[in-house]
């Protein structure tokens, strides 16, 4: 194995021919301020490269799936549902589908990363370096957020080829895109901390995330639902993400926008605290 030769490692320069005794000095440890910026950036960078390297699976595939959904739902329902929320069915559907793929992928990014690290044992690479619990949570969450936004941008561009994309309120679009992706990235961290096997995280995806995402009003107007479903939809945090995001595009919301913003902010804050707490006590991450 080649090592970097230099006084710090006690090695002689290559090709010198003569063996010299060099003064050996131990490598100095890096000083870290209140925030380990290099560590934070490195972990974030690793999280982003994880999905960029396989982007056909992590970005292109979800876009293809949401375009398929757009096609089948418009073909199946476009004739019976002609006007919804003041726009055509496809225009109503597109933002919801974009949001669905954003949140599912933010969740997948963080949860799969943590579970793989735990199963393969590379979690020590996370626990050994001088990274605080807060830095770990933030780096993972921002990684998931980046994947969510990448998928969202790709999906919007893909859909704009088939459906006119209206822009009513860009601020609301951005806020909901970021808040929702961050929320699901944090839920993914929580799921990843809890899960011990791939099966566990698949179960969370199949039985929690997918149902919430599907029944969140992406495909129909919640206002017009029959009664039990109406109340159920309003209790679903995913409803506020999709509703607010869609408001940004079409200018029509089924629920209350301030309530949605408040729900998203509070849920993000609570999850941030919970994940920070779980990492700092080492729940299911430290042996």
């Amino acid at each position: 194995m080649r090592r970097p030769a230099g006084p710090a490692y006690g090695g002689a320069p290559f090709g010198n021919g003569s063996i010299e005794l060099m003064q050996v000095t131990a490598p100095r440890h890096r000083r870290v301020g209140p925030i380990n910026w290099i560590g934070l950036w490195t972990l974030y960078h690793k999280e982003v490269w994880r999905f960029v390297k396989v982007s056909t699976q992590t970005v292109v595939a979800p876009v293809v799936t949401s375009l398929l959904f757009l096609a089948i739902f418009s073909l199946a329902l476009g004739r019976s549902v002609q006007q919804i929320g003041g726009v055509s069915f496809a225009e109503f559907l597109a933002p919801g589908l974009v949001m669905m793929s954003m949140v599912q992928n933010s969740f997948a990014n963080t949860s799969s990363s943590l579970v793989i690290a735990k199963v393969q044992g590379s979690i020590v690479d996370l626990l050994m370096p001088p990274l605080s619990p807060g830095e770990i949570v933030l780096a993972f969450a921002f990684g998931g957020l980046t994947r969510g936004l990448a998928v969202g941008l790709a999906a919007v561009s893909g859909m704009s080829l088939f459906v006119p994309i209206l822009l009513h309120d860009v601020g609301m679009i951005l806020f909901h895109a970021v808040a929702a992706s961050l929320l699901l990235a944090q839920l993914g961290i929580l799921g990843g901390i809890w899960a011990e096997k791939f099966d566990h995280i698949a179960a969370v995806t199949n039985f929690v995330v997918t149902p919430f995402a599907f029944l969140s009003g992406a495909f129909y107007s919640v206002e017009r639902l029959p009664d039990p479903w109406h109340a159920i939809a309003h209790a679903n945090p995913f409803f506020y993400m999709i509703d607010g995001f869609r408001y940004g595009f079409i200018g029509h919301a089924d629920g209350s926008l301030p309530a949605g913003v408040a729900v998203l902010l509070v849920a993000n804050g609570l999850l941030l605290w919970l994940n920070w707490h779980l990492f700092s006590i080492g729940y299911k991450t430290r042996p």
Binding site: Q57, S80, F219
Partner: protein, 269 residues
């Protein structure tokens, strides 16, 4: 004190078909799949029920409304077919790929199990698991939509033929794939689009002429149409054409898989 006579271990004799080997391989495939049943059996059931719920709710939502019942009746058999074909594809593809990646493919190649026996065992496992997944979904769907088959024999024939077709296609996929990434590419870019765009959710006359002609070339369209006929008693295309097409596809795919197994393509190299 007679010394114990030890007989030498004799090779087991078997005739033209190694029944024990066939049965063992079949059982292994089934048991391996059921070991992951939370993910493999119940996950698809939940996602298909979600589709049903979303379609039902979205259809009641329309400004015209009214035809919710017929839409659900139309979509439910399609979802059952999708559950059948996607499960059988996954079983055979994942089985071969897993064995290759973990290096345990030797356990299948070394014993006296011929290419045809391997094909039959894997295909039978794929069909069984596909039908199991489809039946569970149909039974649960029956709580919401009437799922009593109108033509049980047609239902069984088409269900078996579709499961077999995708089981065989899955074997080709599993042989071809070298990484799990390839496996998920096959599902995302081949199985799901081919099924979703084959009249699972919308009637044929919702499509413009060109797309309709393409759909009529898609074998999964005939699988869904046949299964739908089995449940509801009405089909969109000719059943005889569908039956012949599916049979032909199965024969072609079966021959391809047999040749690949015999040559050991990406198995023995």
């Amino acid at each position: 004190m007679s010394p114990e006579v030890r007989l030498p271990v004799r090779p087991r004799r078997f005739g033209r078909i190694n029944r024990i080997g066939l049965w063992t391989l079949y059982r292994r495939e089934i048991r391996r799949d059921l070991a992951f049943q939370i993910d493999s059996l119940w996950g698809p059931v939940v996602s298909n029920l979600l589709f049903l719920a979303v379609f039902g709710l979205a259809a009641t939502n329309g400004s015209m409304g009214g035809d919710t019942a017929t839409l659900i009746d139309f979509v439910a058999p399609g979802l059952v077919t999708f559950a059948i074909v996607s499960r059988s594809f996954e079983l055979s593809a994942a089985s071969l790929l897993f064995d290759k990646l973990e290096g345990v493919i030797a356990d299948v190649l070394q014993p006296p199990i011929g290419p045809l026996e391997r094909l039959v065992a894997l295909a039978a496992a794929a069909v069984s698991i596909g039908l199991l997944g489809g039946s569970i979904l149909a039974v649960i769907t029956h709580f919401f939509v009437d799922m009593v088959p109108a033509a049980p024999i047609a239902l069984l024939v088409f269900a078996v033929l579709s499961a077999l077709m995708l089981g065989l296609a899955g074997m080709i996929g599993g042989l071809w794939a070298r990484r799990w990434e390839h496996f998920s590419m096959l599902t995302t870019y081949f199985v799901i689009p081919a099924s979703y765009l084959s009249g699972m959710f919308y009637p044929l006359d919702a499509l413009p002429g060109f797309a309709r002609a393409l759909t009529l070339l898609n074998p999964i369209f005939y699988a869904i149409d046949g299964v739908r006929y089995g449940f509801t008693g009405s089909a969109q295309a000719s059943l005889a054409t569908g039956l012949l097409y599916l049979l032909a596809m199965n024969v072609v795919l079966g021959t391809v898989v047999y040749t690949l197994f015999r040559r050991g393509w990406r198995l023995k190299q």
